[in-house]
Symmetry: C2
Subunit: 504 residues, 2 copies
């Protein structure tokens, strides 16, 4: 397809060039705002051109590093290539790329792990410094110069607003019929001029379907033609299925006892196999007319929409496996009626998450016996991915689940520990912990009551006696609000660092 | 003053009785919702009568314990007496009473430390169980049967709504001319029927001046005649004054660089001497037409109002020293024009804190080098007071300061540590750490950058080399996103438990 068919505005078309030419606008030391959220809607050409440029600069003995801001994670051809080329000095607010992770944990990239709902406003406030260039994937430009967004909205609205220069990547492989699926809210403002966000139901549209850009800032338009990263999900395993069953039983129980309305509240679901298992469970569960209000639409939510179990879903990105994407593209008119893609400051907004009463379900790395949750760090120091939107939803939701298998690494690591090696969600923000062993409902419990519930219901049998022993001994000495043995509290993690096994 | 002058509704008047008679409505095992927030507006007579009843039951060999929910802290004659009488099984969401603290840390009271903005909704959702009796201090009843609130609103609206029975304490010592100072918002609802809260400026009134109660639930009206707890503040010491100076300089600097609007955003200030020093600093600072949007109005904010530096202040309670209270009562017509008292679910509401762009200032027990903050626990296990509203404001505010002197206990304890012994505010939620040594601005910094800033600017010179040594050695081994030595991370606290001194 010729670029002119996608870019129906002469001004923009006249600025078309190659990615290599466009990359000249990204100088050493620049801060760059990329589109992209959970492997969707990221620029396909510029990052590669920038990485190549960095390598040739390095070869010539010149420094070249940039700061990279995104919506959330991108793909190997973005974070992976830029990290491999030693071209990233700073990275925010979320990463799941293995190569970038390696450089972050080697201390070579300054990674800032932020609540996804905070990023746009902190950039707007000026707290993160200037944004030099925005590089944004779109699928077309209207005759009026409005931008048709791609498969993710993320922080694109904000990057387009605050960047000095804008580079647009027009992806001609992604369907133009995405047009109309997005809902870009232009009612945000800075304090003291903020007003209520009018959204009162998960499927309200409160904005417009296009992104706006000041045409004078657009320095380059680059054509690309390749799809988003493939997201590979394994079939839900037995553990994930059991976790899903506990959650669905619990929701049904809460509804029966009047602690949930008869019409299920909107669902937020984190990323990954357990999350998909829960959504698969809902496909055959007792709840109908579901609404989704979440960050990322993955295969499981598309299944719910297709089956008619879910009416509509709101998110900021669509991140699918190959087969789910093929279905999505083939039936895009069906999905466009049922999917709303918003900026992440709206999809994750505390005001909306609390008002709508979201049911939040997020995975974690570990929980301690008092209900503190670690979502980000392995053994206290090593960054896995990041907090993402889990805090936005857990703090403000109606109900908040944190889920994990009870053990990792063939049982060598317990995901229930005496004390978390890093805390992302405090005891004040966690309600329900679920593993394949069972569910601990922590609402209205004191720390000591929580500890017994988590040990009894969530710990793996291999670790349950060790945890009980720790808790019992901690109850023999010292202050008893949150009994701990500080000399031992992190010894499980230290043992794992020393021997690879928390048990010995 | 005769009760009839305060209670202008015959139905209510006919239910007047002694506190001892009224206490018969509070059975063993009952859950009781008390008024009271930060030593203001708590019931003056019933808790004493309940404590006495508990003691006589215990003497007779019968069990007697109740669950006590409040707005926040009360006074020795409430929490202190009930704790001393072993009459409390459960307590939420905040306590600062020494006797109750002792029983909490002895494991004799199940204490649930909650975000203050969460309490009302979790009670409404049914997550905390049934509320049997509400005991609410008021200063009068109108001819229409509406309740004139006392010096704190707290959770009173919610307790009146959800309790099976209501006992009213009419305090004839507190001025009836409080009438009109309160703004009780009756627009809350449960999901999925929630709508935006219309407040767009800190001094908007969006509700009505009275509390409502179903008269059929009122089982007793009790007259009382004694003032609120005296709040004793020491004169700001040199450390508090330096902290205040750093904050005010920083705010002026941010304004100059366009990261704060020229009209200062509304101020939230935590409780205590450092907070009052900051407010005292603002009295002579460069900012005018200030607005307060906070939990508790203490002496410092009244000074700002009186001096005309602050236009209006919104809170949920007024908690004053004796002399400030005398001024307040004498000039109540002046203050009524300038003070708005709201339910704590509104004064602390994440939606409003974010929309208004609050400048949040809260004290803490300790911060670690990565910017995690402990607001609640001494040495990991011992509860001090509770998280209060610090999380509501820190997570959602425009700017968030956490302040503490750099050392405690004559230098035996460093308030900057390698790793917090308990985390209430995570690295994702803290922005600016201030001690008398200086200010560390953590915005846009990676963990390693934060650590160096905190060690350099906030640590006490006695501990700075020890912290630098820890950080340097942690940078020699293991993953480098958040360098830690897990075997040592909590050793400072353990040493303090062993020797009383973190240094040796």
């Amino acid at each position: 397809m010729a670029l002119a068919e996608r870019v129906r505005h002469a001004d923009f078309l006249s600025r078309s060039m190659t990615a290599e030419q466009a990359a000249q606008h990204v100088a050493h030391g620049a801060t760059v705002g990329l589109s992209g959220f959970t492997g969707a809607g990221y620029p396909k050409a510029l990052p590669q051109a920038i990485a190549a440029h960095a390598q040739s600069e390095h070869k010539a003995g010149r420094p070249y590093r940039i700061n990279v801001w995104t919506g959330a994670s991108t793909a190997p051809e973005v974070d992976g290539l830029l990290a491999a080329a030693d071209a990233m000095a700073q990275r925010l607010p979320f990463n799941s790329d293995a190569m970038a992770r390696k450089k972050i944990n080697a201390g070579e990239i300054d990674y800032i792990d932020m609540h996804l709902s905070h990023v746009a406003q902190h950039a707007w406030f000026g707290f993160l410094g200037r944004l030099d260039v925005a590089i944004i994937e779109i699928v077309g430009v209207t005759a009026d110069g409005l931008l048709i967004p791609s498969t993710a909205v993320g922080n694109n609205k904000t990057w387009l607003e605050i960047a000095d220069k804008v580079i647009l990547e027009v992806n001609t492989k992604l369907p133009l019929r995405l047009e109309g699926m997005h809902d870009i809210y232009y009612g945000t403002a800075l304090p003291p001029r903020r007003v209520p966000i009018s959204l009162t139901h998960a499927d309200n549209r409160i904005g417009e379907p296009y992104l706006q850009v000041d045409p004078r800032k657009v320095v380059a338009v680059v054509e690309t033609h390749s799809g988003d990263r493939d997201n590979v999900f394994s079939q839900p395993d037995a553990n994930s299925q059991r976790i899903a069953e506990y959650i669905i039983d619990f929701l049904a129980h809460e509804m029966k006892h009047g602690r949930l309305p008869q019409q299920m509240l909107p669902i937020q679901s984190g990323v990954g196999n357990v999350a998909n298992a829960v959504l698969a469970g809902l496909l055959h569960g007792p709840f109908d007319n579901l609404l989704g209000f979440t960050e990322v639409l993955q295969d499981g939510m598309l299944d719910l929409l297709r089956a008619g179990k879910m009416k509509r879903a709101s998110a900021t990105a669509i991140s699918l496996s190959r087969s789910a994407y093929e279905d999505f593209e083939k039936n895009i008119d069906f999905y466009r009626e049922r999917i709303i893609l918003r900026p992440q400051e709206i999809s994750n907004h505390p005001e909306l998450v609390r008002r709508l009463g979201i049911i939040a379900m997020n995975s974690m790395i570990e929980a301690d016996i008092y209900g503190n949750v670690n979502s980000t760090h392995l053994m206290g120091s090593s960054m896995m991915n990041g907090i993402g939107g889990s805090g936005d939803f857990a703090r403000n939701g109606y109900l908040s689940f944190f889920v994990t298998p009870s053990v990792a690494k063939d049982g060598k690591i317990s995901c229930i520990v005496p004390m978390c090696s890093h805390v992302d969600h405090t005891e004040h923000d966690t309600q329900i912990i679920v593993t394949e062993q069972g569910l601990a409902d922590l609402r209205g419990l004191s720390p000591r009551q929580r500890a017994q519930a988590i040990i009894d219901h969530c710990a793996h049998p291999d670790y349950r006696p060790m945890l009980q022993d720790y808790f019992d001994r901690a109850r023999q000495q010292g202050a008893q609000h949150t009994p701990h043995l500080l000399g031992e509290a992190l010894s499980w993690h230290q043992r794992c660092l020393d021997t690879g096994d928390m048990r010995k």
